[in-house]
Amino acid sequence: MFQFIFRRLSLVIPTFIGITLLTFTLIRLIPGDPIEVMAGERGVSAERHAELSAQLGFDQPLYIQYFNYVSGVLQGDLGNSLVTREPVLSEFLALFPATIELTFCAAIFAILVGLPAGIIAAVKRGTLFDHSVMTFSLTGYSMPVFWWALLLMLIFSVNLGWTPVSGRIDVVYWIDNVTGFMLIDSILSGEEGAFSSAASHLILPSIVLGTIPMAVIARMTRSSMLEVLSEDYIRTARAKGIAPWRVIVIHALRNALIPVITVIGLQVGILLSGAILTETVFAWPGIGKWLIESIGRRDYPVVQGGILIVATIIIVVNLLVDIAYGIVNPRIRHSR
């Protein structure tokens, strides 16, 4: 098992070098000078431009800039945002809990709905339920996030008034930022109704963000279950007279779950990056929105640092998925 983990880890180093190189070069390949973008129509004089370039280190050759960046990263310094002048890491840490909270709730929603829907659809193959699940999941999968979010918002928030439109908590609650997780902070604040306000703010964004992963999980579970259910050992188990639910849950599901776990792992990455649109629509103060704005402003340190951290998280999640595989299916950790 350790050898397996070690092997996986050694693959991570070149991936990191690749990510730093890619983000560093790609953001600089996009035309646009951060200083000009900052100045807008007003513009800056040539002298002022040179002065600012020197201050920000843009006057040095690219390889030196890259070297400075990487040596900073190795010392845990991701640089300062060109716009707010605050350290990238502290900006990230301030925003990340919001993204985690949203991603977590969306993942829970996707799994809680997607997994059972897929299983039942497979068991009741060919029935109306099966067809409905497949149609809904295809629709969910191809739904433009922006449109879907606004639609839900119009129906549930504006017309029915069941959920709030956007934000993380009602403005009447002045909650101190302790952990950054609004659900936890609202409990810590001790203000009556704060927690339910925070939770109700999470409902729509979680559904919107969780819709695509839910559809993917439902479809994947269904096809994987169908494959397993037609295996000989399932027939044998049934022939032995084992209760039908035991056959499905104990015998079929465990084997069917392997590809589903892979998909769930991949979806976490997609959730993190896919939160961009959801965060923008719901004014959710997470890292997706932060990164998109930084690209627009050519805020090099934020783009580089932010992508590096997100990539790290996705790598770690995938590593954990690989290990989870090994636990679910011993054959994987022994094969090369």
Binding site: P31, G32, E36, A39, G43, A98, V172, N177, S200
Partner: protein, 532 residues
């Protein structure tokens, strides 16, 4: 169904939490369009940052009278100008209190030291605070203050004198701008001694009507009304900026009562807002101009007749309908009608393709010519859709034989290349900074600005001299005369096609009273009250 399922465990958990009653304080919620870049307005140039900092937290020596572009006394009760226009002496207000923070409680009232600190920090490169937090003072530099100021002298605790290198009448308007917001010298000293001077730019104290309590990036900013505000406490207790970048979502929140005031609505939503009884749709002509500049250093635009001909060939009313969807007005002058010295006697070029063709023939371009139109890649207040505007102009020009190609670059690149004059014609615009005509005319069309913000690369001696004369006198009536004449010269020489001034819309909820649109684009909440 989903809601009920979710609500059940939530209610149970909430019941377990310690209960204190929700606050009954009156709160005004403003759905702002983005996060501020920071809280020191002297570092930045964006309105979003000014709304969150200077407009509501700070004061300046002079303020803009709300709803106008004229200045009125702020932290200075009055000022005198010397006869040669080189010395401005300000008499400061007494008894003005600063806010306090968790760590810092001011021990004295506002005085001359605070004024000196605020300006010396930006002006004096050796000032201990000059380089703190990166130290780039874009507006202070952009308005030419470093070259203008010769000295700042503390006459006594409540008198400050600015000595200038040359007479410059717009100087007074500059002092009402956001970068001139007065900071506390006492807080600066305190933080310097603590070894954390950069905290001054993160948690500054001001003298304004609201003090900042908390900021969560991309989420919200919280303020409380400042009890000791020198004009009297605001009429509500709390001010919240709920940061909501998407205009449709802002509108949804306004309808649902989750915010009281929102900026920048979608033009497509205006009709619905107007019909909504709970919403009061306010509007005002913006202090801006959208224009097309001819590169007057490149043939054939060196020829005034060609420029005039293309002015005649462009149907501006069609642009207002198609691009602004009614939220704009045809522009005939380079300054907007809300600005003093606007010359209403100027006669615009009426749409007349036949006359345009005749003029082109006179100039020797009977068969037309090939050129380009640069279209901005971004939406701006003065031009919501440059691409569409360029297409309409392209069609119009085709009718008189001028074949134009539409060109676009990434925004930073676009600004940079057009500054260097790589274009034949370019679409751009301007939003006023300080309500002074000089801030449009000299900045956009003065000889000094060629190779910079003068995209027409146009240097006309007659025009430029009028502007220089106007800078040197502080008599407003005299200045008005110069500017009115300059606008006549401008129209005759036609370095631009003045396309449009946009109309600014601001929907507010009906319970909001006393709100005024600021022609300079700011959002002030001090005068507002909430009914119900």
């Amino acid at each position: 169904m989903k809601l009920r399922l979710a609500a059940l465990p939530l209610a149970l958990m909430a019941a377990g939490a310690i209960s204190t009653s929700a606050n009954a304080a009156s709160t005004l919620v403003y759905c702002s369009e983005g996060s501020p870049e920071g809280f020191n307005p002297s570092f930045y140039t964006s309105g979003t940052t000014f709304d969150a900092s200077s407009k509501n937290m700070f004061n300046r020596l002079l303020e803009f009278k709300l709803g106008t572009t004229e200045t009125e006394p702020g932290l200075a009760e009055s000022y005198d100008v010397s006869a040669d226009g080189l010395e401005y002496t300000f008499h400061l207000r007494k008894g003005v209190k600063f806010h306090s923070t968790k760590d810092f409680k001011p021990s004295r009232d506002f005085n001359a030291d605070d004024v000196i600190f605020t300006f010396a920090r930006q002006w004096d490169k050796n000032h201990p605070y000059h380089n703190v937090s990166g130290g780039s003072y874009e507006y202070f530099n952009g308005m030419g203050m470093p070259d203008l100021i010769k000295d700042i002298v503390k006459v006594d605790d409540y008198t400050v004198k600015f000595v200038l290198n040359k007479p410059e009448a717009p100087f007074i308007a500059n002092l009402a701008m956001d970068f001139a917001s007065i900071f506390s010298a006492e807080q600066a000293d305190y933080l310097m001694k603590q070894g954390k001077p950069e905290q001054l730019d993160i948690n500054p104290v001001g003298t304004g009507p609201f003090q900042k309590v908390q900021y969560q990036k991309d989420s919200l900013i919280r303020y409380t009304a400042f009890d000791d505000y020198w004009k009297g406490r605001a009429q509500f207790d709390r001010l919240v900026f709920s940061i909501t970048p998407d205009a449709s979502v802002r509108y949804a929140k306004l309808k649902a009562g989750e915010c009281h005031v929102m900026p920048y609505p979608n033009p497509a939503d205006l009709a619905q807002m107007e019909a909504d009884k709970e919403i009061n749709l306010m509007s005002q002509e913006g202090l801006n101009v959208g224009y097309l500049a001819f590169n007057t250093e490149k043939a054939p635009f060196t020829d005034t007749k060609v420029r005039q001909a293309l002015n005649l060939a462009t149907n501006k009313n069609a642009i207002i309908d198609a691009v602004f969807q009614g939220a704009g007005k045809v522009a005939k002058n380079p300054i907007p009608p809300t600005m003093w010295s606007y010359n209403d006697n100027v006669k615009d070029y009426a749409y007349d393709p036949v006359k345009a063709k005749a003029l082109l023939k006179e100039a020797g371009y009977e068969d037309g010519f090939k050129t380009n139109i640069w279209a901005m890649p971004v939406q701006r207040p003065y031009n919501p859709n440059a691409r569409r505007m360029a297409e309409i102009i392209q069609e119009d020009w085709k009718k008189v034989g001028v074949d134009a190609e539409i060109v676009s670059y990434e925004w930073g690149e676009y600004l940079n290349r057009s500054k260097k004059g790589e274009h034949d014609t370019v679409l751009l615009g301007w939003t006023g900074d300080n309500g002074d005509p000089d801030n449009f005319l000299y900045v956009l069309l003065g000889c000094d600005a060629v190779g910079g913000s003068n995209r027409a690369q146009w240097c006309n001696e007659e025009f430029n001299n009028l502007l220089l004369e106007a800078k040197e006198t502080s008599d407003k009536a005299e200045r008005t005369k110069y500017y009115e004449e300059a606008q006549q010269v401008f129209k005759r020489e036609a370095p631009w096609i003045t396309v449009a001034h946009s109309v600014v819309y601001e929907p507010i909820r009906e319970e909001v009273k006393g709100y005024k649109i600021d022609p300079l684009g700011g959002h002030y909440f001090y005068n507002v009250s909430l009914e119900k």
